[in-house]
């Protein structure tokens, strides 16, 4: 694995809905520096949107006076994106993934992690009750040969 860091961005922003699009824009502009296709970029934006949304609504239960952290590391062969909150955390990650309350009156569809997993190459969830959650998503950069 290539360990040389080509670029990195650290951003801390208030836990408010308006900042979900901010996170998307930052990731998209890093992605645009790389040879990523438009549809890969769009997919990455969905993954980041889901992680940041979860930090705000689940991690911080919509408390606007908290902070979400977005860390982006670009290596030659991959993009690593961390979304971090210091909110309620998940006592049992596996259970949170499997038992999303898709109740009949809820409009939460439990698709956040599905999108994160589908649109990136690896998702790691580190979470501790009352301490917070760190989501790490890896997008491998495939260098296309010029034809």
């Amino acid at each position: 694995m290539d360990t040389a860091l080509v670029n990195s961005v650290n951003l801390q922003f208030k836990s408010i809905p308006d900042n979900v699009s901010l996170a998307r824009v930052v990731v998209a502009s890093i992605g645009a520096q790389i040879d990523m296709t438009l549809s890969e970029l769009d997919e990455l934006k969905v993954a980041v949107s889901e992680a940041v949304t979860n930090a705000i609504i689940h991690g911080y239960r919509n408390d606007p006076d908290q902070f979400v952290e977005l860390q982006i590391e670009r290596y030659h062969d991959r993009l690593v994106i961390h979304v971090i909150d210091r909110g309620i955390g998940m006592p049992d990650v596996q259970e949170a993934l499997e038992n999303v309350s898709v109740s009949s009156n809820s409009e939460h569809m439990g698709l956040g992690f599905v999108f994160m997993k589908t649109f990136t190459d690896n998702v790691e969830i580190n979470s501790e009750k009352q301490k917070g959650t760190r989501i790490t998503m890896v997008k491998n950069l495939v260098f296309r040969k010029e034809s």
């Binding site: 809905p17 308006d18 979900v20 699009s21 998307r24 438009l38 549809s39 769009d42 934006k45 969905v46 949107s49 889901e50 949304t53 705000i56 609504i57 009949s104 409009e107 939460h108 569809m109 698709l111 956040g112 599905v114 999108f115 589908t118």
Partner: protein
């Protein structure tokens, strides 16, 4: 949220614009529900031709209106979703329960 509403009998036509995420979803939900209430509309037709992004917050709004309208024998339809947005709608399973049509141009590529 840029939202334009039109009525025709029991149909509500909603033209949406922009990115539908957590910052937009709650407002969109309220505005659509208000419009459906006031006009007693049973069918909601959403024009997505100017929607450039959707995530699960937006999908939740569609699902909620679908549930509400099916209870009164109504329907929800999404028209002209861009290929990218269409893919998200499809992956969510919403395309199995509501009618969704796709446009073949990405938002912003129409050379307006």
């Amino acid at each position: 949220m840029d939202l334009h509403l039109e009525y025709e009998k029991d149909k509500l036509y909603a033209q949406l614009k922009g990115e539908i995420d957590l910052s937009i979803a709650p407002h969109l939900r309220i505005e659509l529900d208000n419009a459906l209430d006031t006009k007693q509309a049973r069918h909601l037709i959403m024009d997505f031709s100017s929607v450039s992004f959707i995530d699960s917050s937006g999908l939740g709004v569609i699902l909620g209106r679908y549930r509400r309208l099916t209870e009164v024998g109504g329907t929800v339809r999404v028209e002209n979703a861009s290929p990218q947005v269409y893919k998200i709608l499809e992956m969510s399973g919403l395309s199995k329960i509501i009618e969704i049509t796709q446009s073949n141009v990405a938002v912003g590529e129409k050379g307006e």
